[in-house]
């Protein structure tokens, strides 16, 4: 009988608690949709500052601006965490054309990949060889590649519903194409932009040369998807066409920059730290609104929304705006390194770095027990149409915090439009919808609230 009473009490408590959670989460969403600040902050980051490539003046302005905004949020502590970052500069705009025969040419839109070397000052003109991937290089061999520009033209797979999956299936061409083609004597690399849409925007992004000696590095550029289609068709009609491109990008010495950090001290477990963050740097072509201004302002608003909705965190909640995700991950690595050296106990980290679109759910990189717990909260998100709770990769910047005990999570916004804008000139503020951005911030704040309240399963 006692047992039954206890059980009833338990049920009643859980029932009540459930209602409390529903109310709290509703308060968070209401605050986001009526008093959210994310959109205003992003307007400033995008339209008053603009593209924030690591080491640039704009990156520093973004550090100063977000620090000063956090200073005005009455947090318990706001600080800058120094980190040395690479400084790569695009220089004068790139230029390229297809030469059908001497004097008969078509210009095509290209942009240097981030980290690429420049062409010689007069540019490079050479025949092309088109491949669908790195694995074709060995079969072709040096005889067919030497002295040529390798054109990597494997499109993103359109039948994959997650465009991030389609991106993962292609991005090796961009990252390692130049390193690999250089081994066979190629003089340059042109890569089809990572974009599912046919348009005229070239999309930049990071690339690396591995251990290729500096003097053996060949320049690499992205071509717009329309340009790639034109180039491929033209090559089929006449394999002897030439391609010309010129870029004068340059790698400088590392410079000092900062992660921007603000925190609310936990009222019960101040030594258990929960992180929510995005990356403050962006590529230089657009203004970095989706990648990842959105994630930064959403993360900042998580702290505000918890306050606005009347919640007092038990654990220490930190917003971290990571520097240099795009071409180095120095900020993410530094943050984890400092945390380790200070013996800080991180129990949870949530990253938003997939655009400011309608939130669909979260991915979790954690133990099965924690996945089970978070799945039990799914119902709380149903009214907000947040329905995807999956196991998976949760983000680059929080990755270095990974250990057996922490719960890593990533916001999953609708992904269909993301690669239309990613790393391109059209990643700009007018492509942000205020409500979508705010719904993302509210979803993040709600998840942080639940993990703060119930803790993680050890």
């Amino acid at each position: 009988m006692k047992k039954i009473v206890l059980l009833l009490l338990l049920v009643a408590t859980q029932g009540f608690s459930q209602t409390d959670d529903e109310k709290q989460i509703k308060a968070i969403y209401d605050a986001a949709l009526t008093k959210g600040k994310a959109y205003d902050w992003l307007n400033h980051l995008s339209n008053q500052i603009g593209g924030r490539l690591s080491g640039s003046i704009q990156a520093q302005q973004a550090v100063d601006y977000t620090k000063s905004e956090m200073d005005s949020m009455s947090l318990d502590r706001v600080w800058l965490q120094p980190v040395m970052v690479p400084k790569w500069v695009r220089g004068i705009p790139e230029f390229a054309y297809i030469e059908y025969q001497p004097g008969i040419t078509s210009n095509v839109p290209i942009c240097a990949l981030g980290g690429s070397v420049a062409t010689p000052s007069g540019g490079i003109k050479a025949n092309l060889i088109e491949v669908k991937g790195i694995d074709e290089l060995a079969a072709l061999g040096r005889a067919k590649i030497e002295g040529k520009i390798v054109f990597f033209n494997r499109p993103m797979e359109p039948t994959l519903i997650s465009t991030f999956q389609a991106y993962s299936g292609c991005v090796d061409q961009r990252y390692s194409g130049a390193e690999e083609a250089g081994k066979y004597g190629a003089v340059g690399v042109i890569v089809r932009s990572m974009n599912l849409r046919l348009d005229n925007f070239p999309h930049t992004g990071s690339m690396g040369y591995g251990d290729t000696a500096v003097y053996n590095r060949i320049p690499a550029a992205a071509i717009s998807t329309n340009g790639a289609e034109l180039l491929s068709t033209t090559l089929k009609l006449n394999p002897n066409i030439k391609f010309y491109f010129k870029q004068n990008c340059k790698q400088f010495d590392d410079v000092e920059s900062y992660n921007v950090i603000g925190e609310i001290k936990g009222s019960v477990y101040p030594n258990e730290i929960m992180v929510v963050g995005g990356h403050l740097d962006s590529w230089d072509l657009g203004d970095g609104s989706h990648d990842d201004g959105a994630g930064c302002v959403q993360s900042m608003d998580v702290l505000r929304l918890l306050k606005e909705s009347g919640y007092k965190p038990k654990r220490t909640i930190r917003v971290v705006l990571f520097m240099n995700e795009e071409n180095g991950l120095r900020g993410g690595n530094e943050y984890a390194e400092v945390a380790k050296n200070k013996n800080e106990k991180h129990v949870f980290a949530l990253e938003s770095d997939s655009g400011g679109f309608t939130p669909r759910g979260f991915s979790f990189d954690c133990s099965d027990a924690n996945l089970e717990r978070v799945t039990s909260w799914k119902k709380l998100f149903e009214p907000y149409l947040v329905h995807l709770f999956i196991k998976g990769y949760s983000g680059a910047d929080i990755g270095p915090l990974k250990n057996d005990d922490i719960v890593l999570a990533g916001l999953l916004p609708d992904s269909q439009r993301y690669f239309d804008h990613h790393h391109a000139e059209n990643d700009t503020f007018e492509h942000i919808n205020k409500r979508e951005l705010e719904l993302g911030a509210a979803s993040m704040a709600s998840l942080v609230y639940l993990f703060d309240k119930y803790g993680i399963v050890k």
Copy 2:
């Protein structure tokens, strides 16, 4: 023992059938994302034809174009169903300003509501009275309203996650504001645009005068949300400001137009008809890409996708492009009337009229038994992130087909951006994402496939 074997067989059969369905649906999505025609068709409708208000030349061009496209699809039958539609014309662009004092004015963006009468040729200038809704009129009474322009300024509720719900909570101001304010002697009506965003686009939409005598009808216009904010603030500072507006819209006699219909004859139950459709007319300010060019081209592609994916329908599947949803619903009513007169048996109808955004699910207006069946198919849509299967209103054009036996369904795309564009100048093709449009078409074709294969529960 026998029973167990039977059960096992049943499970095995269902298992096999499930796999078949998964394969078929995958084939439909693959076809949509690699060979879909919806985007090309919409490009033509939007950019070669443009806004297609009932009775306009563009509406007729859209009839001709979609009929000719259907003619080329090797369907079993394509025809035009005549229907008389209202013809309302906006005339020269509307003009409005706030007059702070004689000679000191600010222009504000307005547009006539569809069906409104014109102002006198010199326009109307009068004091304003702001209300949040029709219910405030009675309390104010004739004394405070007579001779004034009534300014309906209740915003859409931002905390509602479904923007359609927020729209429903506001649209009475637009539809009935002029009829109701006229009863108290108002000389005109200005309505805040049905838009959750603050911007400069006025949003038109239908309105009616009920049984108000023609000579007692007062003109009504929508003001952009920014304009509404300015007007409201200004009124608070100075209740004596005047508002001027001028519009010369006109209602003409009804003209003949058409529903455009194409069908594939059912191979097993040719007399059971399934409809899939959208509306071909649109408002005149934009090009009607989201409302409802998207629904038309998706519906047309449903028939193609079923063919492309190798499926032969058992039932007769009809695409119907309804005319005059926006300001009369004549096409929807006529289609249902003809069907009734011909004793046609409609078992299912699916409408897409909520924009071309990422599909999130479907609403169903049907018996509980059918809702239960369709809910059992939810798992099949999971890989495509289509997760919402709810009971609810399914669309205006298929509404007249409603009876106890039919299943009515409506596509539910993500709704966050819809009212940024709805009935406004910026409902244009560049705001359509090709993949989102195609995913919608694939979701529709998959639902049609399942209902065709398994039938409805009687």
